[in-house]
Structure formats: C-alpha cells, structure tokens
C-alpha cells in the first residue's frame, strides 16, 4: 500500500469527524448571560465575598484561602453539573458503584444531609474536584424526577477546613460539606 494512499485515507477520515453542533453551540454560547460561565463565576465571587463580609470575624491568610477554595470548588461542581455528562456506570446500588469505581477507595453513600437519603442512585463516573480524584454520582429526586449531581472526594486537609454551606450560583444551587472523612458537593435545582 502506498503511503500516499494511506495518508489520503487518514486525512479523509479525520476531516469527516466533527463535534455535534449542539455541543459546539453550547460551548461557544457560554458567553451569553443565561447560565453562562461568566454568570456563574460572578455569582460565585459575590457569594464568596458575601460570606467573607458577613462572617468577617478574623482576617487571616488561611481563612481567606479556605473561602477562595470553597468558592472555586462550588463553581467547579456547578459547571460540571451543567455539563450533564452521561454516567459511566449505571446502577442503583452504592456497593456495586464502589466496586465499579474501585480506584477511589472510599465509600460513596452520602452522609450528613437529611433528605438526601430519599434520592435514588442512578449511577456514577470518575471525575476530579480541585484536581483530586472523586466520584460524580447522579441521584434522582423521587418527588420531581429531576437529576442532581453529587461529588464525593476524600476529605483532605484543605477540604476539611471548608465550612458547610449552601450557595446559589445562577439557577443552580450547590451545597458543600464534610462528613465521615469525605468531602461532598451537591449541585442541582431544589436540592436539600
């Protein structure tokens, strides 16, 4: 086979590949105000500044760094929820999901948030939170049927310092908390 023929075929194959139009539009349209990245960032900054102003108890580098991290993590969680990625593993059983995501090495069942135990597990996938390996889990609200996204990571020192709170980032609410040696982030509409 001549190398010219191979290269022509290779080029033809890749030139025919394209990202779906709706995904491209969504990507390029993220500068629009409705649920845009910029809007979410502004809300996160406002939420963070409000927290700093209303708490305002002590000015310390560590406190501000933790608040910045909380805002950054909440924004990352909200953005990832918006991407609405397909689950990698479909299951309604946490033990089964832990086996499928066995590289994480920690339990995935959420703790410490009353009301969340009613939500039904739909599945999960690997992801990261602030660069740390995490599980991204889809839960279904039994009342409305809508999906919310739960992130579970190890409660590393920098996460453990984050105080539990709920934030409104545009149309999405985000709750972050630590419990049982794990860091949790919940994103969606109408979350507990």
């Amino acid at each position: 086979m001549s190398m010219g023929t191979l290269e022509i075929g290779f080029k033809r194959y890749y030139e025919a590949q394209s990202m779906p139009p709706d995904r491209v539009s969504g990507l390029l349209g993220r500068r629009n105000p409705r649920k845009s990245t910029i809007l979410l960032r502004r809300f996160s900054l406002a939420a963070m500044l409000t927290l700093v102003a209303t708490c305002g108890l002590w000015i310390g580098g560590k406190f501000l760094a933790t608040e910045r991290l909380a805002g950054k993590v909440a924004l990352e969680i909200a953005l990832n929820h918006e991407k609405n990625k397909e689950v990698q593993y479909r299951t309604g059983n946490y033990r089964e999901l832990e086996k499928m995501l066995d590289k994480l090495g920690f339990p995935l069942r959420p703790e410490g948030l009353p009301g969340l135990e009613q939500y039904q597990l739909a599945g999960g996938r690997y992801c990261s939170v602030d660069g740390e390996p995490a599980a991204q889990i889809k839960l279904r609200d039994p009342q409305s049927g809508t999906l919310v996204t739960l992130y579970v990571a190890r409660s590393l020192e920098r996460f453990a310092r984050i105080r539990s709170r709920k934030m409104d980032l545009g149309a999405i609410q985000v709750r972050i908390w630590n419990q049982g040696g794990r860091f949790f982030g919940l994103a969606g509409e109408g979350i507990p």
């Binding site: 086979m1 190398m3 191979l6 290269e7 075929g9 290779f10 080029k11 033809r12 194959y13 890749y14 030139e15 025919a16 590949q17 394209s18 990202m19 779906p20 995904r23 491209v24 990507l27 390029l28 993220r30 500068r31 990245t37 960032r41 953005l79 991407k83 990625k85 397909e86 590289k103 690997y126 990261s128 390996p133």
Partner: protein, 161 residues
Amino acid sequence: MKEAERMVQEGYRYALALTHNREDAEDLVQDAWLKLRGKEDSLPDKPLLFITIRHGFIDRLRRDNLVPFHSMEDMGEKASSEPEPEGAWSDEQWEYALAKLRVEEREALFLNVMEGFTAGEIADKTGNNRNAVLSLLSRGKKKLARWLLEVKSPGHRAGLG
C-alpha cells in the same frame, strides 16, 4: 464565530486522535476551551488549544491510573506482503485500524498528516526526540496498512468497540 467553530472542530479532531473515543474527545475540548476562554476575551490560539487538550488528556490518564496498552503487534512488525486491497475503507474500518495504534503513534500521525508538522516539530511538541517520532510515524503507518488490509480480508467483520 466561524473562526471559533473551526478551531473547536480542529481541537476535537486532535482530541479524537488522542482518545479514539468521541465522548472523551468532546469532554477534553470542552474543558480546554472553557479553561482558555475563561482567562482571555480573545480567541485562544490553536497551538495553545492543542497543548491544553494534550495536558488534559495526560491528566486524565494519570487520574484514572491508565496504562496505555501496547499490543503484541509492537513486538517486531513484519512487512506486509499481502496484495493491495482496492477501493476505500469505511469509517468503521478506519476506526478499527486506528484503535490498533498506540496513542503516541496516532498522535504523531495526526500531527504529521493533518497539521503538516515535521518529525522535529512533533518531537518539540510532544517531548520526544526526533528519532523516536520518526519511528512512531513509520510503525504507525505500517500498522495502519496491515490492519486495513486485514479488515478488507474475506470473512473479517469490522465493528466499533
């Protein structure tokens, strides 16, 4: 907007060469684009987009503790002596053959064939040395030729997955 769309699609094709998985490629491009557009108001330049996509791909491999699989075909290829098949190959057949390549081989071929980079330029971009890139290109092409011939052989049924 046209320029942005064109750049997104070019980034997607590069991401597809790395991942050989459409959904993963879409995710890589999206992450890279959001990262770059968040920092600057202007359109990101293509080399930077490609670098960001590549870094995102490597980060995912590390995070998922994935080790690129080196198939047994890597252990000494022999020159194909089968007759040249005629006609074109379907996308499915190309996907089958491309899946047989190592990530590094697919990437080197993509940068050479699609982007027109020389082996030296590819070496700079990927942190390899020039001779290693030449080897990747040569082996990648031989493998593609071999698997495309295989997929055309009677009784073979190519499919995704």
